[in-house]
Amino acid sequence: MSAKELKVKIEWCKGCGICVAFCPKNVLELANEKINIKDKDSCIKCGQCELRCPDYAIYLEVLDDGK
């Protein structure tokens, strides 16, 4: 499986808090009504945030695995 990295597109975030609420590892928070990654190291890259973000502002980027 290729490596993934958690990314945000802050301009698209509307601060609904859905990703924060359904992240199983408490990685995310809202800061000034926008998404903020507060604990990247705990992220298990499960994709629950990306699955339900209504504004496509958080996602796992698939890395090229160095090839």
Binding site: K9, C16, A21, F22, C53, P54, D55, Y56
Partner: protein, 273 residues
């Protein structure tokens, strides 16, 4: 930057969409794009058609052949497209008002004909775009701007309606159960006939506020708590799930598809001429 799914399937210059913060429609629109992506459909063969409503704005964002039509008439336009061009994968995006109030007649007849169209109903139990009037799926006793003392109507179960009218694929998914919804949409597209997916959405702005449902997160959690999968329910006595909303696949059958039957008539006419 954005995810590959989004940049490959959406008109990036049209995003972010205009929907309110936490609107469930965004989750369902992504689920549809993901299903199309998973099926590796030829984009030039996909045509997404909608009526009018918040939900019906979706095709404006999606990078396929798209048509934004008039209120309630998406299925009428889609029927024309499918008959003229049976090779197209025609997908209708509609709201509960668009599909079952003003467009209810088209829904029952598209179902009855079993025409090869996939309908994804973004069902938020309210007219979102026009400010929260009750719709044919607003629950009894719920509030809307046109039901300030509670709705006295009883809601449609649109899955049962489409099933009874003749749709060959019928399922219900939700914005909360987005992974399941993606799978359901994939199967609904693969069905050769009329498919109806009742995709339960949330409208925090109107349905949520009018009914004191809290935030979008609260509303998604309520969906989690009030639903039960049909496969689980089937193993339980009725009184264990009679107050829950069933989700999952209700019907997946094969019947002659309308445009194929129509082609047979054309072929016969050509031979006999």
């Amino acid at each position: 930057m954005s995810s590959e799914l989004i940049s490959n399937n959406f008109r990036m210059d049209k995003l972010p969409h205009i929907w309110c913060p936490g609107c469930g429609h965004g989750i369902i629109m992504r689920s549809l794009a993901k299903a199309i992506d998973n099926l590796k459909l030829d984009k030039s063969k996909v045509c997404v058609v909608s009526g009018i409503g918040c939900s019906s704005r979706a095709p404006g964002y999606m990078d396929f052949n798209t048509l934004h039509t008039t209120h309630g008439r998406a299925l009428a336009f889609a029927t024309g497209i499918k008959l003229a061009n049976p090779d197209l994968e025609v997908i209708v995006i509609t709201g509960d008002g668009d599909c079952s109030a003003i467009g209810g007649n088209h829904l029952i007849h598209a179902s009855r004909r079993n025409i090869g169209i996939t309908t994804i109903l973004f069902n938020n139990n309210i007219y979102g775009m026009t400010g929260g009037q009750y719709s044919p799926t607003t629950p009894n006793k719920s509030y809307g701007t046109t039901a300030p003392f509670g709705n006295i109507d009883k809601p449609f179960d649109i899955c049962k309606l489409a099933d009874a009218a003749g749709a060959t694929y019928v399922a219900r998914g939700t914005a909360y159960h987005a992974n399941q919804l993606i799978k359901i949409i994939e199967k609904s597209i693969q069905n050769n006939g009329f498919s109806l997916v009742d995709a339960i959405s949330v409208c925090p702005t109107y349905y949520g506020r009018k009914n004191k449902k809290g935030s979008s997160v609260d509303m998604l959690n309520e969906i989690k708590d009030m639903t039960i999968d049909i496969k689980t329910a089937e193993k339980l006595p009725l009184d264990k799930y009679k107050d829950k909303l069933l989700i999952g696949e209700f019907k997946n059958t094969e019947q002659p598809e309308y445009t194929a039957e129509y082609q047979k008539i054309i072929n016969r006419f050509k031979k006999e001429r």
